[in-house]
Structure formats: C-alpha cells, structure tokens
Amino acid sequence: MLQGWVVVLASFAYLGVLFAIAYQADRRADAGRSVIANPLVYALSLAVYCTTWTFYGSVGRAAATGIGFLPIYLGPTLTLALGWFVMAKMVRVAKLNRITSIADFVASRYGKSQLLGGLVTVIAVVGIIPYIALQLKAVSSSFTILLSYPEIVMPAKAGTAPLLNDSAFYVAIVMAIFTILFGTRHLDATERHEGMVAAIAFESVVKLVAFFAVGLFVTYGIYDGFGDVFDRAQESARLSALMTTADTASSYGSWAGLTFLSMLSVLLLPRQFQIAVVENVNPDHIRRAVWVFPLYLFLINIFVLPIAIGGLLQFPTGVDADTFVLTLPMAHQQQAIALLVFIGGLSAATGMVIVETIALSTMVCNDLVMPVLLRMRSLRLHERQDLSGLLLEIRRWAIGLILMLGYIYFRSAGEAYALVSIGLISFAAVAQFAPAVIGGLYWKGGTREGALAGLIAGFLVWAYTLLLPSFAKSGWLPAEYMAHGLFGIELLRPQRLFGLTGLDEISHCLFWSLFANIGAYLGVSLLRAPNAREVRQATLFVDAEERGRVAGWRGGAPVADLLPLAGRFLGPERARDAFERHARSRGLAVVEDLPADARLVQFAESLLAGAIGSASARVMVASVVQEEPLGIDEVMNILDEASQVRAYSHELEEKSRELERATAELREANERLRELDRLKDDFMSTVSHELRTPLTSIRAFSEMLFDDPEIEIEERKRFLGIIVGETGRLTRLINQILDLAKLESGRAEWSTVAVDLAVVVRESAESMGQVYRDKGVALTFDLPAAETVVLGDRDRLTQVLINLLSNAQKFVAAGTGQVRVAVRRAGDVIRVEVADNGPGVPPEERETIFEKFRQGGSVLTDKPHGTGLGLPISRQIIEYFGGSLWVESDPGGGATFIFTLPVFGGDDR
C-alpha cells in the first residue's frame, strides 16, 4: 500500500484539500461571511506553533532528555496567561498603527525607522532559516522512511545524496510552489490572509488527530495503557532515568532558560506574530485562545513520553528517536496509521512553512527590498500607479529564496543536530526581538539607536555562539575556533564565552545574547532623550491601552470637588444636570449621595472630555483626585491637543474675520438700503404733499359749491375754473410721477432712432406757439443750415424741449418776454440753448432746480402750472442718450438752459 506514488498522491491530495479550504474561506470572506471570525479558529490557528519539531522532534527530545521536551510548551502556556495583557495590547497597537509584520512593528515603534525594519527582517530571515531546514529535514526523512516500508531504514546522511536524488530538494521546491500559489495570489493592504488562517486551523486539527492516533495506538494498542508503559520503562535503568531530570543547577537553569525562550518565541516568531496579531480579526478572540491554545499544547504532549518509551523499547539502537512516531506504526505493520502520521507531519511542516515564509516574504518585500527600490530614483517607482504586481513578484522570489536557503542550511548543518536543537537556534534568534518589542510596548524611553544597538549586539552574539558553531559542527567551518576561541583567545570560545560553563549551548547563547541585547538597548537608549517623533510613536504604543481601559482611575474624589470642577467648564447648571442624571442612573435621589469612587471620577472625566478634550480632562480630574503626578507624556498629550486647539482656533479666527468682513458689507448694504428707504420715504411724503395740495383746493371749492346754493354765478364760474385747473394739475402731476418712476427704474420704453434736433425744436415751438402768443412772449430761432442729427427718442426729446419752452415763458414777463432757441454743432456734440430774459436763476438754485419737487423762481404766481418734476425728467432723458443738461444764468440777465447730445454719424471720424 505504501508505494511511492500512493504517498505522493496522498500528499498532493492533502495539499489540494488545504488549497480548497483556503479558497473557500477567501470566497466566504469576500462575501462577508468570514469563517475565521471565530475564537476557536483563532486559537487553533495559533497552534501553527506546533511544527514537525513537535510532531516528530518532541519524541526524540523526550527519548534523550525525558522532560526536556516540555518547557517549549509550558512557556507558551504561561505567555498565554499574560495574553490578555501583552498579546491583546500588541493586537491593539498593531491595529491602531496598521502594523503588518514584526519588522513593521519595531520600525514603527522607534520613529518609523526603515533601518530598524530592515535589520529586524535580516535577523528574522537568518534566524528562521534553520527552522525551515528542520521542516524540510523532517518531511524528506519521513518520506524516505515511509518508502522503504516494510523495512525500517534510516535515510542516508544529508548532503551525501546528489542534489537531484535528494527528496528534501523536491520537498523544498514543492513547498515553495505551494506557498507561492497559496499566499501570493493577490495582495491585501492589511496583509491578512483569511483563507490561509482557515487552512492553518484545519492543519492544527489534522496534526492533533494524527498524533493522537499514533499515541493511542502505542499506549493502548502495543501496550496496556499509561501504567503499563511506565511500568515497563521502570524495568530499564536507561528508561527509568528519563522519569526524573538531573537534580543540578544547570539542569534547572536550562529548564528555566528554555521555558523563557519559548515564552518569547510564541510571541515573536514571525509566523506567530502574523497569526496572533496581524491575522487577528477581533481582539476579543484572545480571551478564548488564552486557554484553548494551552489546552491544545497539553493534548499534543500527552502521548510524547509513551511513544518515546515505546520507541526506545522497540528499537534499542539504530533508529533515530525523531522518527519513532512514524517507525513505531510501521514496525507493527499499521500502514494506515503510518500514512496518517506522514500526513500529520506534512501538515505540521506545511503550516509552519506557509505562514513563516509568507510573513518573512512580506517583511523582505516591505522592509528590505521596497525601501531600497524606492530610493533608487532611476527606477521611478514612486511615479508608478500600481505596484501590486511588483510587490507580488518580490514576495514570490523571497519565498523561493527563503526555502532554498533553508535547503542549503539543511544540506550543510542539518545532520549535526536533532530536530529540536535546530529549532532552538531559531528560537534564540527571534528572542533578540524581545527587548525592542516588549520594552517598546511598556517603556517610552527606548530610542531608535537603542533598538538598533540592542538588536545588532544580540544578533552578533547569537550568530557567534549558536549559528556559527552549528556550521562548525557540520564541518563547514574549521572546528578550531570552537575549541580554542576566535584568534585562539580562550575567552572567546563560542560556547564557553568568557569562560562561562555549566549551561547548555542554548541557555548559554540566550544569556549572553540577551545580556548584550538588553544592555545595549537600555544603555544606548539612555544616552539621549527620545526625540519628538519617538515620543509620539512611543505614546501611541505604550498608551494604546489607556483608551481601551474603561476605568483608568484608582482613586476617588467627592462630589463636592468634582461638581465645581465640571461646573467651571460646562457651566454650573449643565454640570449639575449631568450629575443629577448620573445619580439617578445609579439609583440615588440626590447628587450629594454619590459616593466618592472611581466611577464618579470616570464619569466626571468623560463629561469634561466632551468639553475640553480627553488629555486636558484627565489632567483636570487628576488635579482633584491627586492620584498620580503629571507625567511628561500627559504634558505631551496636552501639548498635542493644545496645538490642535490652536489650529482650530486659528481656523475660527479666520472664519470670524470673514464673518466680520461679511457683516461690514452687510452693514454697508443695510445703510445704503436705509438711506434709499429714507429717500423713498421723503419722496413719498413729498409726492403725498404735492398731490394733497391741488386736492385740497378741489375739495374745498367743491364742498363750498355743494353746500351753498346761494353763491353768485360769477363766483361759481371762478370756483369751477379753479377746480378744473387744479384737476389738470393733479393729472399732470400723476403722469409725471409715473413717468419719472419709469425713467428711474429703467422700465421706460425708448425708441432710439436718428433725430434731427432742429426739426424737433421747430415742432415743439409750433405746439407751444399758442401759449407764447397768449402771453405775448417773443420766440426766436437760430437754426443752422447743416443737419443736426443725434440718436434719440423723438417723442422724449420733444418732451424735453416743450418742458424747457414752457418753463421759459413762465418766468418771463408778459408782453416784454423774449425766448430764443439756438441749435448748433460744437465739436462732436449738438448744443441746444433755450434762453430767456427772465429774472435768472440764483447760483444756489442752479443744481437744486433739477431735483424733484424743487421749483425755482416766483413760485406763487405760477404754482398751479408747475409740478417740480419737469426738469428732473428732462435731465433723465438727456442723460439717457449720453448728453447733459444744465443752466447758465447771469443775475438779472435771464437764464439759459442748455443741453448737448452726441452727433450721430459725425464727420469727425
């Protein structure tokens, strides 16, 4: 059954299932019905922590050291207990700052430093490569072992087989292709991959089921339960030694060291950060993960020891303990379980490789390659609209490269170590992120240089004490320096650094690297105060919790203090109202009954925050609560807020200036309107007066005639004559008022044609002839032979001339009066003069006579005939046609009314 093609087919079928799950989950996510919006899925996806290291390696570790496999799982259990604190905060910070990877996280925390992002990426890639090699080694060797069924043959040493015959090479290629297909189909700005998370959760179930299957088979199939297994172990001195651990300081030290290391790794491994933080859809899911993930770890470890004991009993020698999970069922001809185990191991490996390489490729792309490409101005990338194709391309290459590096490490160093030891090299590498990340979450004093120095120092020590020795042990580097130190200096022996002994190589490395790392991080950070940019980012990271926390106050304050405080900003009445509502909501009758507790302080703070902003509100409340002194951060916050307020008030000032301008304009317009209104009012009053005057005569004489039939006939005729005259005056007045109103409002109808003014003068004179003859006034003309043509309305111009002629005869003496009309051309205007030998117009009246209802001269005598509107109307008409009308007069020498109009079709052209 376990022929090569069956195994290969089963493997690809399994990968196909994974792909289908991911595809389906992506589609559902697009449709808004996310499958991963589920705390259980989140907890299971965290179990990507369990790789082939757990699946195959734990048994190997247990077979060698007994309980030595356990710290790797106890650490994460403890970390998850802190998950509510640390993980939730990381998630909040990441979401707040749109963090997409752990490199991004560190870079962003220390002032968005690209250099830091790149450094973290390099450390992560270099550090994780052994871990990837571990997966390749596990899958390829399990594949090789399975193929030799029913024989149990350990695979040949890595690096000895030719490349094209090396199954690990093909595993690496298949995994690279699979991951590329899986993780870089499309680009998501949030770097979230719902389908991947769903598939990872599924893989977690598969590995647990597979491991349980083999565990149950060994414990209850081969043996008779746990008691039986352990009883048999007690029979062998070698096995019973596994039941306890060496009771030495170094043994406990290693135990504690590994626990600590795994506590950090479960947070800081790029894939764990990806799943726990970046892919987290709801921070509340952490609540479930807090116990489900540790429970998963517990379950997957229950059968480790029984399998290890079973393996050791089954194969005293010649079989690598890392393969017991697979070789035990094979030795008992359990082909189905063996195949299931292989699939379980494959699932453990693929889960790790997929998430790890996707996370790393994102970092390589975003924090290493793109910053460099964007700096190369010659590429003109910043001008390109769509970079997503390029980004995907970079990530695909990065995935391929990482897997190939993993393969190279496997070929070069893979054989010298057991699975767990390889993995621990990677754990120690990512532990270098701890000071920068954890410190950055809780301490605001860290600076960019501090983080850089810490990371570099830690990484160098790690490489010197752990990575290089792994090459040396494989013969890739001269073993010389291992034994005698660099340059032969004993103190620099990589795994006895400064003569430190008594620790295993991992704890040794962990101690020295973190010593250097933390020392450099703190020391360099403290060289200078953080700059404004770092403080801003530090506040965003460290204080991320403050906003989420509901009750931030540990102290209380009495109503008597809080109410006046709120009253100062809100006004006493509004503050009192709000406090009364709060009291009622707590079932209290009066405000004074409110207890001086944190809830009241909280209420007052939020009340104030609405008025003066949250930071200021906090300070104000703190002044009453006196809980804690004002920290520099609060001051920064207040300054931030204050500058916002300043910007806002600047805006307000601008607005109010605009408003002032608008108001001034309005006021001006209003003044003009008022003035116009006053003028109109005066005009109406005057019109009313002018209309009432003839009406008064008409009414008086009519009543007198009506009341007194005795009046003589002569008297009657005189009275009726007056009534007729006054009626005519009234009619003229009304007509002229309407006419003027039309002229002034621009609603008058004009017909503009060519008019010969000499003709108009003659016609007007003819119509006035009778009036002049009646009064005995002489009318003479001075008209040129040439044409005196202007553009105008014939009737209107006639109206002007009749008005002037009429006025003239009114003011001259009967019998001796003389009026002379002259028309002539003066330049490009035609000039018309109407001169009389009357009393003339005094200088002070020469303008006023053109105002409405202002009459000049001896008013009494001629009053019934004038309306006081003739001249204003005439001037309106002349000005309409582009001319002007005025009066010239010598006292006693008569008056001359003159108007000019532009010549039409003049020769001046």
Binding site: I67, L70, L74, T77, L78, L80, A81, L82, G83, W84, F85, G225, F226, G227, D228, F230, D231, S240, M243, T244, T245, D247, Y252, W255, A256, T259, R287, R288, V290, W291, P294, L295, F298, I302, L305, R549, V550, A551, A598
Partner: protein, 66 residues
C-alpha cells in the same frame, strides 16, 4: 473595579503562579522516583499542574463574559 481588569489581574496571578510551580525549587520536590496512579511523579505533577492552570485560565478568561 472593572471586571475586565479583574480578569487580567487573575490571569497575571496565574502567570506568576505557573512560573513558580514549573520551576526550581518547587519542581525539585517532585524530581524523584515514585508514581501516582501508575504515572511517574514528576510527569504527574507537571501535567497535573498544567491542566489545573489551563482550567483556571479558562475560568478567569471566560467567566466575566457572562
């Protein structure tokens, strides 16, 4: 006092408890021969404490939801 903070404090307490229980010197007390229900003492101790810790964490994390 807010419930969420209470839960967080309980979990921190469990973390500290776990750190103590899983390490020297308490671990040393059980680092000897002997069995509990057929299971070696050290394993019985570690797995027992582990499971109890998980149960308490579940209790602390989930309880305040209701």
């Amino acid at each position: 006092m807010n419930r969420s903070r209470l839960a967080a404090q309980r979990l921190v307490a469990l973390f500290l408890l776990g750190c103590l229980l899983f390490n020297f010197p308490l671990l040393a007390l059980f680092n000897r021969g002997g069995e509990v229900f057929g299971i070696p003492l050290l394993y019985a101790y570690i797995f027992g404490v582990w499971l109890a810790l998980i149960a308490l964490m579940a209790f602390a994390a989930e309880r305040e939801q209701s």
